[in-house]
Amino acid sequence: MTLVQPPLKKDDDVEDDSEYSPFYGIERSAVLQEARVFNDRELDARRCTQVITKVLYFINQGVSFTQKEVTDVFFATTKLFQSNDIGLRRMVYLIIKEISPSNDEVIIVTSSLMKDMNSKTNLYRANAIRVLCRITDGGLLGQIELHLKQAVVDKSPVVSSAALVSGIHLLQSYPEIVKGWSNEVYEAVHSKASLVQFHRLSLLHQIRRNDRLALSKLVSGLTKGGVQSPLAKCLLIRYTTQIAQFHPLAVASCNVDLESFISDQNRSAATLAITTLLKTGNESSVERLMRQITNFVSDIGDEFKIMVVDAIRSLCLKFPQKCRSLMNFLSSI
């Protein structure tokens, strides 16, 4: 996010026509002045939180700050680590991410964030991980890598998810480093938390993206059991479809498991399962499939029906002998 834009006027007023808004008539320069309270010896946590909120409000409204103003706010914010107030600490994490400090500036908060990364409070750990990974460079990453790997297999879902999601982001810039986490990511299979399953699967897939065999193994290993998370199921179905395009035999065994997703309560998973099966099904399974989805089709909306009909059309072309039963099915919708 670029905040470096020379403003046209010195003091930008925020226009807010609602008199009841707490930000009514507020001036940018006044808020920046207020940030001086961050330097107080005795920090008033509530006041500091309000000031941070005001700064974030400005950023949200698209008001621009000069580079110097941003730097000043950042430096002032770093003092706030001295307070133990939980609410304030959360706001500090938020504003650091919003301001995106430069490499030189990052150093000032690194040790505080690393301390939080080892805190007993799970939410501090999770958030510190997310902030660190957002602002890190290669050097810092090397320092915290061990902690991140440990966080991936942590029992707390919020910590594990934070590390996994950060891993997905970091894969763009530091692929070799994140690939070295494969063992830990694999171990995270023990977590029953729905979103951890989703994040873990996502990261594993990204790591193995160019290795078709590994991807096939990943998918067939998972469909055998234990994927409860609806989001993870959606991912699994996406990956199965991808693999089916170049390795259909590998997913033949998945088809049976995919059929069990048809009756899944989560509509998203069910619909995806249907359309995938229709695309990758073989001749013998067609009739069985038609029977299974008859009930389903009456439940879904028109847009989904169109998808189903489209897939059936391709099936007709693929298996001309089954045309009759497919036509019968279509006429009953």
Binding site: L94, R134, C234, N266, R267
Partner: protein
């Protein structure tokens, strides 16, 4: 077929005139402020006449999937790419919508959102990280924003009586100081 992780492009909270209350973008599709404002105006205008009050509605605008819901003088929008799974986008909207409801004790309108903007921004932060969905369960999200106790994986609804009283005290104190 794109098999990447489901991604959210932006979350918008606009008022009844289409002006920003709280927004967060996770994509480079709208690089300048002008682009973002134009998108917000477009989406707002195109959904103005709909009555997405009791249930969320979905539309496809400018090549994006947008799921939206309105309450009082607020318009909630979540945007995904055109190939994105609509139900996933809808789940994110529902999570955000319900979590805000929990945090503001069902008093959801522009005034109370602005008065508790810190909570709403923290809420967004707990739902999506750089476009990747972090959490969709409103109870879990609200619990993480409130950050009660050391074990912050306890959802708001499962807190002990002591913890719930502490939460209530905190909210009361906040409202006194406004």
């Amino acid at each position: 077929m794109d098999v990447s992780t489901p991604l959210i492009k932006n979350v918008l909270l606009l008022d009844s005139e289409g002006k920003r209350v709280a927004v967060k973008y996770y994509s480079d599709d709208w690089p300048k402020l002008a682009d973002k404002l134009a998108y917000e105006k477009s989406v707002f205008t195109k959904t103005q006449r709909s009555i997405a009050r009791s249930e969320a509605e979905i539309g496809m605008f400018d090549g994006y999937i947008v799921v939206y819901k309105f309450i009082s003088d607020l318009h909630f929008y979540v945007t995904g790419g055109e190939d994105e799974n609509e139900l996933i986008v809808a789940t994110v909207l529902q999570g955000f919508f319900d979590a805000v409801g929990l945090l503001l004790r069902n008093n959801v309108d522009k005034k109370s959102v602005l008065e508790n903007l810190d909570l709403v921004l923290l809420c967004l932060d707990e739902i999506i990280d750089g476009g990747i969905i972090l959490e969709t369960d409103a109870n879990v999200i609200a619990g993480r924003v409130s950050m009660r106790g050391a074990d912050a994986d306890v959802p708001l609804s499962e807190q002990t009586l002591a913890q719930a009283l502490a939460t209530a005290k905190e909210h009361f104190a906040r409202s006194l100081l406004k």
